[in-house]
Symmetry: C2
Subunit: 342 residues, 2 copies
DNA sequence: TTGAAAGCGCTAACAT
DNA sequence: ATGTTAGCGCTTTCAA
């Protein structure tokens, strides 16, 4: 005898097992409407005994509501996004909404695909990283007629609303601190950028501000792939060999900055006097380094919390978040690698 | 005039716009069945023009199939799990299946909730970390009648099948290497364990093997929360202050191991001769450290790939993976912090 | 407080 | 190659 494919249990099974109509069973299982305590118990017992798991697909189709929030981010390896996510999950925790994560690998085509895929489940909202999307993606989000929150960045025009920081301003702020501290010969290291708009905007804000002070980036190098810590180390070694007169190194993220810092300390360089250093993000990792790397925190958790709040509120009928752009202010931490004045 | 809640587009709209029956539209959009090239074009044009996004909820209900795979892991902050995930995504990429991630924070009750929630979407498979689950969770997974792959660990009895390493054996292997290298006074640092069964099993395998060689852990300390790198640094400092005669430190993960390593190097301790060091996991981060920390790689990517393979194959009718336990062998990397013999 | 009927938007199965 | 019919398992709505 061939083992049968089990037919999953339905409301009807619970109804029969408990001698209560399907409709009432449904009411009990959703805590909706008035049901007598006796009936409640009968139903609950039967459901538990049978091991009934409701079918959300049928429920969603019938009720036209789906308690899912699409969260679309470029990567999970980046450390940054898991933190945003944890802010989102925590906030959604007791709203009945559930985040569902999609990853784009920084590729617009993949973003489009993931978005399409997720929207086809008719989620109650979308939280998506960045303001740069293909025209098709933007069209889908507009069409969807659900709250769409673009996060991490506010330098641009969102489809609906946005929560983030201004990366241009962040780059500017860092440049100003460096100028005030009296550094003059500045090197930059970062990821290859066509993909990462936020890193690009920071870089633009940074160079533009330096330019106004008559300073030009003296050397720069971009990497992709590999261990960021190791890359930071290698790039720093190479850059200082090439341009020994540099007195400041700005890294587009803390991981490569940490690699650079470890290298300089080993090489016996006087940080921050011979060479100053700064990264970006404020990752927890930095706490364990021999010296505190100067950095700027990107408000990741808070972004997640605020974005989720907007979706949850709008889902509950409070439309006040619609169309808003919420800009958070990153704080600059000087740590031990950036003088606060010359 | 109050803005109307937009009615999302349906197949019917595309059908009317293209002058083709709903059924044929459905066929075109799913590339199913024979449809003439002309009709195809008409339908595709109409769908694109309207911006139609199919409703997977209705589709899933009608077809009784859902292209989702539930992936349930304890945490995203751990570095370990994003890597498993990337193995899963990559493998599922061209199978038509989509991973959906749920996070449990190492809490059995939350695991149960997440599992229930995900199963209520009737996924095509479950990939879940660990072999320890509440009885209710196990019951749900058995009932579901879909492939269930328990990953990361093989020391126990899976509900269906398992892909992972033996953490007991990993602990043993490390202990053996340490014994061979001639270390005698051994300290251990790790996370508080009731939650993390795999760390616990490694610890058990480790201490048991040492015991057989007549060695007992000379000191130990457990932490929770905070920056792992910083914790490693602090715990190491504290432990060596307390037990200055230790000649080896075994860390339950690479992050705290790295913190310890940085501390010892700064303190001018001769590693690995005065004190040897080892961690666990083989995280990419380690590549950038001043010295290579001894570690044991946990085959994270490969676990993800193999687990996803099983789900995908079974979904395609190949049941050969059912009931299997696939044990992978972690490799020990001595790095610069563990002598290979005394 | 409970039940009966209709239908959510699709697709399987069967025509044609 | 295309169309028709009958549900999928729930919830909404209305009636009792």
């Amino acid at each position: 005898m061939i083992p049968q494919k089990k037919r999953p249990l339905t409301l009807r099974d619970v109804s029969e097992a408990s001698g209560v109509s399907e409709m009432t069973v449904s009411r009990v299982l959703r805590n909706k409407g008035d049901v007598s305590e006796t009936t409640r118990q009968k139903v609950r017992d039967a459901a538990k005994r049978l091991g009934y798991v409701p079918n959300k697909i049928a429920g969603a189709l019938a009720s036209q509501r789906v308690n899912l929030v699409a969260v679309i981010i470029p990567s999970l390896g980046n450390m940054v996004f898991p933190e945003v996510l944890s802010g989102i999950s925590e906030t959604l925790e007791d709203t009945g909404l559930q985040p569902v994560v999609g990853v784009t690998d920084y590729l617009p085509e993949k973003e489009e695909k993931v978005l399409f895929e997720m929207l086809s489940w008719r989620p109650s909202g979308v939280i998506i990283a960045g303001l740069e999307h293909s025209e098709a993606s933007r069209a889908m989000m507009r069409q969807a007629d659900i709250p769409v929150v673009e996060i991490m960045d506010v330098d641009g025009q969102p489809v609906d609303c946005a929560v983030g920081i201004s990366h241009r301003r962040a780059g500017r702020k860092m440049a100003e601190a460096i100028i005030v501290a009296g550094y003059k010969r500045i090197g930059f290291m970062g990821t290859k950028m066509p993909l990462d708009h936020r890193a690009r905007k920071r870089f633009e804000g940074f160079t533009r501000t330096l330019a106004k002070a008559g300073i030009e980036i003296a050397d720069q190098e971009f990497y992709s792939g590999g261990s960021a810590l190791a890359k930071g180390r290698e790039m720093t070694a190479a850059m200082l060999a090439r341009s020994p007169d540099l007195d400041f190194l700005y890294y587009s993220n803390d991981m490569i900055g940490a690699g650079g810092l470890l290298y300089l300390l080993e090489a016996g360089v006087d940080v921050p006097n011979s060479v100053g250093l700064a990264g970006f993000n404020g990752v927890e990792l930095l706490d364990g380094l021999p010296r505190q790397l100067a950095t700027m925190d990107a408000c990741r958790r808070e972004i997640g919390i605020k974005a989720a709040r907007i979706v949850a509120d709008r889902n509950a009928g409070d439309e006040s978040g619609a169309g808003q752009i919420i800009e958070l202010s990153p704080t600059l931490a000087f740590g031990d690698t950036l003088r606060s004045s010359s």
